[in-house]
């Protein structure tokens, strides 16, 4: 196994318009778990389909180690890439039993008999579906189908496993269970995994690296912790965590991480200074006796706390948490403990 490299990858469809993927360069280390995160239509699925070989890049190249998988001239067909994929629709073959679905990649590779049986059993064991081997996919629930699709990926020890929004069709409870299964699967197989999602919480929870895309371009690649703590630009800042973005006269500040003292200084010293975007996360907004005035515009009870929406004096909107009950329309004072200049 080897590093998966996307080198200045672009894809323009014949229908015209802006390219679906525009100059994306990315390296996924061997055994890494990369989440491709972005709003729908940002090109993340196109990147995944190019890695799988269903689409050919119009520019740039995809390499696995030093082997060129695809460039604008030629490409290795998907059937020769030794990859596996979990599709959003699971793509289980309705006319085959669960065991036949899982065993199909082995059958194609000419593995049969006891060896095949043992491998299928092992794969089904890993997703805890051994009792369902003879059922048809139609008889299974959504989560079980998902696990069959995963077992099909497990069975051949692929170099790269691709997951296309695999949790999009599942309910919330099942999602958590499946996230656990994916983590287990990653640890067990050691395969390089690429996971496409529009859900930042999913990406943060699962991946070792997160790549954020928007309008065909790659905005930032970093570990989940890094992306969370040091997002680059409005788009990434808005996508990751539940923070609010404020305009603040902070363009001249030396540091990007700002505390309440810094923020107050900036506000008072230079009224005419250039504004910059700062990201303020709700847990950093403290409701106290002093500080900036704000008005509560909505309150949502979340069980362990209240989630508030606040409006500042200049109409900017901020999110905050409160342990005490608050009423819509209440005037409060707030302190911003920490902010990040985007």
């Amino acid at each position: 196994m080897a590093k998966l490299i996307l080198n200045r990858l672009s894809k323009a469809f014949e229908t015209g318009g802006r390219p679906a993927v525009n100059d994306v360069s990315l390296e996924v280390r061997d055994g890494g778990f990369l989440a491709l995160l972005g709003p729908s239509g940002c090109g993340k699925t196109t990147v995944l389909r190019m890695i799988a070989g269903f689409e050919q890049p119009t520019d740039g190249a995809i390499l696995l180690g030093d082997r060129v998988l695809a460039d604008a001239g030629e490409m290795v067909a998907p059937e020769h890439r030794n990859m596996a994929m979990v599709f959003q629709s699971y793509a289980l073959w309705p006319h085959m039993s669960v065991a036949d679905n899982v065993g199909y990649p082995l059958k194609v590779r000419g593995i049969s008999g006891n060896k095949k049986k043992a491998k299928v059993r092992e794969a089904l064991n890993a997703v805890r579906l051994e009792a369902y081997a003879d059922r048809r996919p139609a008889d299974l629930s959504g989560g079980q189908r998902q696990r069959v699709a995963l077992a099909r990926c497990l069975v051949t020890e692929p170099d790269v496993v691709l997951l296309d929004e695999p949790l999009a069709n599942l309910d919330r409870h099942l999602r958590q269970e499946m996230e656990e299964t994916f983590r287990e699967f990653h640890a067990r197989s050691g395969a390089t995994m690429i996971y496409v999602t529009h859900d930042q919480a999913e990406a943060m929870a699962l991946a070792t690296d997160v790549a954020v895309m928007s309008e065909g371009k790659l905005l930032q690649v970093a570990s989940p912790q890094e992306i969370y703590a040091r997002p680059e630009g409005r788009l990434v800042g808005g996508l990751v965590g539940q923070g609010a973005i404020l305009k603040w006269p902070a363009a001249s500040a030396k540091n990007r991480l700002l505390d309440w003292e810094n923020l107050q200084q900036l506000l008072s010293s230079s009224d005419s200074a250039e504004c910059a975007d700062i990201l303020v996360r709700p847990q950093d907004v403290e409701i106290s006796g002093e500080g900036m005035p704000a008005t509560v515009t909505s309150v949502l009870f979340e069980g362990e706390r209240y989630a508030l929406k606040l409006t500042l004096g200049d109409e900017q909107i901020l999110r905050a948490f409160s342990r005490q009950p608050v009423q819509v329309g209440d005037k409060v004072s707030i302190i911003l403990r920490s902010a990040w200049r985007l």
Binding site: R49, F54, M75, A77, A84, F87, A91, W93, Y104
Partner: protein
């Protein structure tokens, strides 16, 4: 390392060439050849001679009158049925719909024979119940009106289907909004439903017209005895009296038919193009109108029409087949199965015809399936701009009347095939090729609908599993489109088995089909044998339609032509 330049497409490179070759040989080559011969004979003076022949203009006139009157009859019958069955709360809709669709699947020459058996002085049925007109009185169906009436009966289902598809797509909320605005049932029908279903009416009428123009079975049996010739029967008679100018003449006449058909098809296409606005809003479930006290009357009218259009002619057909000889009255004592014994076991010609038709239909249905699975796969999966063009070219041979195609194939194969030097003219193989060409679109349609419903990720998953094209086709694609493929085989078999127009032009001794055998038996005066053979054909048609009807629930929408 395996590399390819197929740009991420799932198809091997040879597939495109294969599809282009198939469509070239089945569609472009014969029709192109026909056009060339037509144009060249138009320039070398043959055209002037042909066009100065008053018989040709009489045939054009008769074709247009019969087709136009037939179209009107079809619109009245089919339109009325579609409105009543789709919009109103009559009972037994499924049965009525199925029975109403039957006439279009019964071969036209059988319809003609059945109706002859029902009317006229020598009708076995009328004699049996003592209502036959006096001997020597004319057979009323041997006339322009008779031909038009049968055209109407035969093609009413086409209007029915077209209008019904439109009515089923009507936005239900539009109807409900009109109701809430205070419109009465009648006003809703007049102001909302009829204007919106007008395209369905016009399109259905246009297809019915094209179908009438190309019909051979009905004018051959009803028109020729009265010396009424339509363009298809004129072509047939030109071939019967073969001469040096025949090829030029028939290609010009086929050209005339093709032009009339293209006009009709263009009207249909134009009208249906504006249909998109219909999908706005909820559709699928039709607003129901209650007939109240009128329901029983409505149902009576519908069943009476079924009785006249279907039950009576078929009873007459059975009566004719049981009559001992032409003109002998049928009573329980004289009824005999001799005719059946004769056609099934004694007559070598009918046995040959059975064997030929079954062979041709099976070979066409199964052979075409192999071609259409590959072609359908290409047409659905390809992102190429050529795909829509190819799919339009594949449709043309079926859209044009069969006689045009038969003439085109004669022109292609009259001379020995270049390179191998074998002539297939006059053999069964030319009929087989004509069937392939003619029914390509019939076979393709169910397969294409199945492919369109197939989630592409099912095949992509197989690709990532390592399966190449052939492997995927066998393991994944074919099993998943199997029900539609089965329907396609039955449908092609059904239509090919009943076909007369193409084989009437292309047959020679030893290669007659069932359609030709029925026509020849009637032509030589063995009416009871023709009737017996027809009864057998009708039984076969009904049996196969029932099989398709039972399969219908498992098939993609639009596969079974009489369901919508």
């Amino acid at each position: 390392m395996f590399r390819s330049q197929n740009r991420g497409n799932s198809q091997p490179r040879w597939l495109f060439s294969f599809v282009v070759m198939v469509i070239f040989f089945l569609s472009v080559l014969p029709l192109g050849r026909l056009a060339m011969t037509g144009i060249s004979s138009a320039f070398d003076g043959g055209a002037r001679e042909l066009l100065s022949d008053p018989a040709v203009w009489q045939a054009v006139y008769d074709t247009l009158t019969t087709s136009f009157l037939g179209m009107i009859a079809a619109v009245i019958l089919g339109g009325g049925f579609a409105l009543l069955l789709t919009l109103f709360d009559v009972r037994g809709k499924t049965a009525l719909g199925f029975l109403f669709m039957l006439p279009t699947m019964i071969p036209p020459q059988v319809t003609a024979l059945a109706w002859i058996g029902m009317t006229g002085p020598s009708s076995a049925l009328l004699k049996a119940i003592g209502m036959a007109p006096a001997l020597g009185s004319p057979q009323p169906l041997y006339s322009i009106g008779g031909i038009a009436l049968l055209y109407g009966v035969q093609n009413a289902p086409l209007v029915f289907l077209s209008l019904r598809a439109g009515l089923l797509a009507l936005p239900r909320d539009g109807v409900e909004a009109a109701r809430l605005s205070g419109a009465s049932s009648w006003q809703v029908l007049k102001d909302v439903i009829l204007p919106l279903s007008l395209p369905g009416f016009v399109a259905g009428a246009a297809i019915a017209f094209v179908s009438c123009v190309g019909n051979f079975g009905i004018p051959a049996i009803l028109g020729i005895p009265a010396s009424i010739y339509t363009l298809p029967t004129l072509i047939y008679s030109k071939f019967a009296a073969f001469g040096p100018g025949t090829f030029g003449d028939v290609s010009l006449l086929s050209g005339l038919i093709a032009i009339l058909s293209v006009i009709g098809l263009t009207v249909e296409e134009r009208v249906l193009r504006g249909r998109d606005y219909r999908v706005i809003g909820l559709s699928g479930q039709v607003a129901m109108f209650r007939l109240g006290n009128w329901r029983l009357l409505g149902e009576l009218v519908l069943w009476l029409l079924i009785f006249i259009m279907l039950v009576m002619p078929l009873t007459a057909l059975i009566a004719s087949s049981l009559a001992p000889a032409y003109g002998v009255p049928l009573t329980p004592a004289t009824a005999t199965l001799d005719a059946y014994r004769e056609v099934l076991f004694k007559q070598a010609i009918t046995r040959t015809a059975f064997v030929n038709s079954v062979f041709l239909s099976l070979a066409t249905a199964v052979g075409l399936l192999v071609v259409t699975v590959l072609t359908g796969y290409y047409l659905v999966r390809s992102k190429s701009r050529l795909a829509p063009v190819l799919s339009a070219l594949a449709e043309i041979p079926y859209a044009l009347p069969g006689i045009v195609l038969a003439v085109a194939l004669i022109l292609v194969f009259a001379a020995p095939i270049p390179i191998i030097g074998i002539s297939i003219y006059g053999t069964i193989w030319i009929i087989l090729i004509a069937y392939f060409s003619s029914f390509f679109a019939v076979s393709l349609k169910p397969v294409v609908s199945a492919f369109r419903q197939l989630d592409p990720s099912l095949e992509e998953a197989a690709r990532l599993s390592g399966a190449g094209f052939g492997r995927r086709l066998i393991d994944i694609v074919v099993p998943l489109v199997a029900p539609a493929a089965g329907a396609s085989v039955i449908l092609v078999f059904l239509i090919a088995c009943n076909e007369l127009t193409v084989s009437a032009i292309l047959w020679s001794a030893g290669t007659q089909t069932l359609g030709v055998a029925i026509y020849n038996l009637d032509d030589s005066g063995s009416f009871n044998l023709a009737a017996a053979l027809s009864v057998l054909v009708v039984i076969m048609v009904i049996a196969m339609m029932l099989v398709l009807e039972l399969m219908a629930k498992k098939l993609p929408k639009g596969v079974v032509p009489w369901r919508s």
